[in-house]
């Protein structure tokens, strides 16, 4: 090979090198990420590879208590579905329930106990023994010195035996400060039902069998009390399960998901929903031929509420009110429900009393398609009545500021996020010497803790649930772990039992863990006798309940005979009061529970962040809703950043032009604006709760979160709102086709044929 000289060699080497380099780059750029496939050499006993195992348990994403079935493969939870035999969920589930898997597998979960050695220091890992004994020592010394009342247990709303365990624990410590706090808790509805029927509870609204439902502000299909059950009922009713296609009316200042699905949507002035209800009642009593014995009392109580006189205050014309009243009276199964912003004005309880009185007037109490009261709670006193109001929380904050609280145990709840800045809760917590968090995540509240003892998620722990609205009869379900714990965490119940034993309360806490405690508790339910067929002994009953995921009795609670005495006479809805003068703050602020993020608790779930908001298609952000007229007046367009200013603060967010909100109302979803809640929630959007005025509902002392006035200040900045939708108008393309129900359209004959399959009742021509 004499032909190759030095130059040729170098050239060839260079060419070869370049070629190899290009090849390497090509390979580098196209290769797949490295994956490891590790098969089981000997598979664990509980499962066989490739075969799915289903476990029935209870969803804890909200307080509705839907029964769920979790599909697991190779020991990992893969999918959550509704438990078909559970009467609340009936096999169905909402988006939040589906996203429960991301609570379990959230990358921001706390992986083990941690402690701060000094203030302002990072949390460092410790062992469980250290953590438990550190807390037990503190609690023990407080208990021994009779200062048990300086221990506060602040938990999210829980029910069943876990709630009972908390109660027992706090009682043993000698503390009365067991506080359950949920922002979304329908406290005013409890009070309204108590006022009407004498029993503080959530009634069951049988939407599925109703054929005319009037909802006053309650977003029953998306965020209110038990959305899955309500949606199931909505679907059944719309399909004419009860012989007639259900018709739905929604009265609220800003169209919610339920409003969008309603046949008729009416915008009443914020806080006047109760007056609308009384005007409807007035018409029913005076013109509609109400024949009850108490008619005279009604007539005199409702005298000031004639539809004509109410149209000015409510913004609804008297013909609309009369139309609703006549349909309400004329339908077989009419039902009135109220909640949401209507229940969270200063006149919240009165409003809900007025709304639920309508149910009494059409006589649907305890009937199919009506308002059904639930029987006595199976365990304890029922969770709903335990929940703290805003006033309770303020009191707690004051106690903390005064140094009356030595130890705060947090579990699952996030009051720093869910209370207005005016409550100064963060500052109050900072005064407490020892803050312990049992939450599974770091959030705005638990980030203030100096001792973190993370608990299991609901998919890893034992528990039970007795859904509060129920379905009109007593039901309960056992929640079982569906996967082995992912991290070095412990079930909340186990932590409490362990703590109690460390403190020396073993006598009151003789159980080794939550499961044992739970079984003991269920012995009493077994003793009630409703154990199903062929059950032999408690063990077999227990196994059946755990396997089926549900236990229930079919006996209804006592249906109310009538209203409490004096209710009719005292029925009255005061005009709502708003914080801030209408001159300085021209708009009523309407914060609402986000359809995707709830009250903010779901903001750390990426599926929920990526689920487009049903009404606006916005993802990953906050926005301020303005009526097109208002936006035009203020010269604002979608994406213009504005400052929403209330008497108690300001938040900024981009404008979204929303066609179905009243011109004098500013809507804003609750849920975003987290500062410290994992990678998916932190630093996103803004939190409208911050700027709420501490305006109270007059009877319950709960926060009237729909009673703040605001001003809109343009900032001159703009962003592109991130949303998945394009242009939300059909442009005459007939994408969503409709059929008129009453043959009033020009081609009515065709419609009659099309409607043959669905029993539509023609209400009026």
């Amino acid at each position: 090979m004499s032909g190759i000289d030095r130059r040729d060699f170098l050239k060839l080497a260079g060419a070869g090198g370049a070629g190899a380099g290009a090849g390497f780059m090509m390979r580098e750029s196209t290769k797949h990420p490295v994956e490891h496939l590790v098969p089981y050499t000997s598979s664990p006993e509980e499962f066989s590879p490739g075969i799915a195992t289903w476990y029935n348990t209870v969803c804890s994403m909200c307080s509705s208590g839907c029964g769920i079935s979790v599909r697991t493969r190779e020991g990992r939870a893969k999918k959550i579905e509704g438990n078909p035999s559970h009467p609340v969920s009936q096999g169905r589930l909402c988006a939040h329930g589906q996203a429960g898997l991301q609570v379990l597998y959230n990358p921001d979960r706390l992986t083990g106990p941690m402690a701060r050695t000094a203030d302002n220091e990072d949390l460092l890992p410790i062992t469980w023994d250290e953590g438990i004994s550190q807390l037990a020592t503190r609690l023990g010394s407080l208990q021994a010195s009779g200062q048990g009342d300086s221990v506060c247990f602040l938990s999210e709303g829980v029910d069943g035996h876990l709630a009972a365990l908390y109660e027992r624990f706090m009682a043993q410590l000698g503390s009365s400060r067991l506080v359950h706090y949920d922002f979304t808790h329908p406290r005013t509805l409890y009070s309204a039902i108590e006022k009407l029927f004498g029993d503080s509870q959530l009634p069951y609204y049988d939407i599925g069998n109703a054929d005319y439902v009037v909802s006053f502000g309650a977003d029953y299909l998306s965020t209110w009390i038990s959305p899955v059950n309500h949606s199931f009922g909505f679907g059944s009713s719309r399909k004419g399960v009860n012989g007639v296609r259900g018709r739905f009316v929604q009265i609220e200042p800003r169209m919610s998901v339920s409003g969008a699905s309603a046949d008729d949507w009416f915008a009443a002035n914020p806080g006047t929903e109760g007056m609308v209800a009384l005007a409807i009642a007035n018409h029913i009593v005076n013109e509609g031929g109400y024949q009850g014995d108490d008619r005279d009392a009604w007539v005199s109580a409702l005298a000031p509420y004639s539809p004509a006189s109410m149209s000015q205050a409510t913004g609804l014309s008297s013909s609309v009110i009369i139309g609703i009243a006549e349909s309400f009276l004329g339908s077989q199964h009419s039902l009135a429900i109220g909640g949401g912003s209507a229940g969270n004005n200063t006149n919240g309880v009165d409003t809900l009393v007025a709304v639920n009185a309508l149910n009494y007037l059409v006589g649907n109490l305890g009937n199919e398609g009506g308002l059904i009261l639930n029987p006595e709670p199976v365990v304890g006193s029922g969770s709903g009545t335990l929940r703290a109001t805003y006033t309770d929380m303020i009191e707690l904050a004051e106690a903390a500021r005064d140094g009356r609280i030595q130890v705060l145990i947090l579990s699952g709840t996030n009051p720093v996020f869910n209370l207005p800045d005016a409550a100064e809760f963060r500052e109050a917590i900072a005064q407490i010497p020892l803050v312990v968090s049992l939450s599974s995540f770091i959030d705005e509240t638990s980030s203030l803790a100096s001792l973190v003892l993370p608990s299991h998620t609901y998919l890893e722990s034992w528990g039970d649930s007795f859904p509060e609205p129920g379905v009109g009869f007593s039901i309960g379900s056992v929640s079982q772990p569906v996967v082995s714990p992912l991290f070095n965490t412990r079930a909340t119940g186990d932590i409490i039992i362990n703590l109690a034993q460390e403190i020396g309360l073993s006598a009151a806490f003789p159980w080794s863990d939550m499961e044992e405690y739970l079984k003991e508790g269920w012995q009493q339910i077994y003793a009630r006798g409703n154990t199903g067929d062929g059950t032999e002994g408690f063990e077999s009953f227990w196994n059946d309940v755990v396997r089926a995921g549900v236990w229930g009795e079919t006996t209804r609670g006592p249906s109310p005979e009538g209203l409490l005495e004096g209710v009719i006479e005292s029925i009255d809805v005061a005009p709502p009061e708003f914080s801030g003068s209408s001159a300085n703050y021209p708009f009523v602020f309407h914060p609402y529970i986000s359809d995707t993020l709830e009250d903010g608790g779901a903001a750390n779930l990426p599926w929920m962040q990526e689920l487009p908001d049903p009404l606006t298609s916005i993802v990953y952000g906050s926005w301020v809703e303005l009526n097109p007229l208002t936006a035009n007046e203020l010269n604002l367009e979608e994406g213009d950043i504005v400052e929403v200013e209330s008497p108690h603060g300001r938040v900024t967010a981009p404008v979204f032009i929303y066609p179905a909100i009243m011109p004098n109302v500013i809507g804003m979803p609750i849920g975003q604006g987290h500062t410290d809640y994992g990678r998916y929630a932190s630093g996103r959007g803004s939190n409208p709760i911050q700027i709420l005025s501490p305006q109270l509902e007059t009877e319950t002392g709960d926060l009237a979160w729909a009673a703040t006035r605001v001003a809109i200040n343009p900032t001159g900045r703009r962003v592109e709102i991130v949303k998945t939708g394009g242009v939300s108008r059909e442009l005459g393309r007939e994408i969503i086709q409709k059929v008129g129900a009453d043959g009033a359209d020009a081609d009515g004959a065709d419609h009659a044929a099309e409607l043959s399959s669905i029993p539509v009742k023609v209400v009026r021509s």
Binding site: R73, K78, G82, F232, D595, L615, A660, I735, A753
Partner: protein, 254 residues
């Protein structure tokens, strides 16, 4: 008969409407717009079942949504008479699917069950199917998506995780259909019974707006539902013969 004649007759038979009635299954879904509440449970259920990646805010801002089923919303009128209508939009599994003809490598094709199948391994990523789809329900993997640990433990082992450069779309939860068929075979049955298989979206729909089944079985729920007089196809004029049937919304006046 000559070869050409045979070919022609086969071709004609294949193109004839009703060709799919000769098979055991023709999977069909009906969506009752009168019951749909637009809540989005179907979207998340699908995301959980089918390993649909999280694309992140930045990508969504660039319009790269990734949901096999999405809720479209259309406003009518202005305040105070504004109305909002929802329509879930997913792959329509058209019997005359434009996407199937355009794929140069046959990565998308019609299977014997009347499903519009997508073979991820075969896809070269020309994205022409997404252009040809009038319903715009085909979604492209612009990147390899990541599931930060331990989110990856939720991934459904029955469903492929798609890599960058691949088109994906609703499969009517074909993995569930396969399992139901296997189960039927194990039981010695020829066909899957009505109601034995439901895609994740239908399964979770709380307002029971969706029905899924085999339209070749005249006893099935879906057969009854699709023969409802309210039934219609979206974009009927494009003549794609979809397997998703919508039921008209009922408008009550007065």
């Amino acid at each position: 008969m000559s070869f050409i004649d045979t070919l022609r007759s086969r071709w004609q038979e294949y193109r004839r409407p009703g060709y799919y009635e000769n098979f055991d299954y023709a999977w069909t879904m009906t969506i009752d717009l009168d019951s749909c509440t637009g809540c989005g449970a179907c979207v998340t259920a699908c995301q959980a079942e089918n390993n649909i990646p999280l694309v992140g805010e930045e990508e969504l801002a660039r319009g790269r949504e990734m949901h096999w089923i999405r809720i479209e919303r259309y406003w009518e009128g202005e305040f105070p008479n504004a109305k909002l209508n929802f329509i879930p939009m997913l792959c329509q599994h058209c019997d005359a699917a434009p996407c199937e003809t355009v794929c140069p490598v046959s990565a998308t094709y019609h299977n014997q069950d009347g499903l519009n199948a997508q073979v991820y391994n075969r896809c070269v990523g020309t994205r022409s199917c997404a252009v040809y789809c009038p319903y715009e329900v085909r979604y492209f993997n612009y990147y390899n998506h990541e599931w930060p640990s331990p989110l990856d433990q939720q991934l459904n082992p029955d469903v492929t995780v798609r890599e960058k450069g691949v088109m994906e779309k609703c499969t009517f939860c074909i993995q569930r259909i396969r399992q139901a068929k296997d189960a039927a075979k194990d039981d010695g049955r020829r066909r899957v019974l009505d109601g034995e298989v439901q895609p994740a979206c239908v399964q979770t729909c709380a307002s029971q707006a969706m029905v899924f089944g085999n339209r070749n079985d005249s006893q099935s729920e879906v057969f009854k539902s699709m023969n409802d007089p309210r039934a219609y196809h979206v974009l009927e004029e494009v003549n794609t013969a979809p397997s998703v049937v919508y039921l008209k919304k009922v408008e009550v006046n007065g």
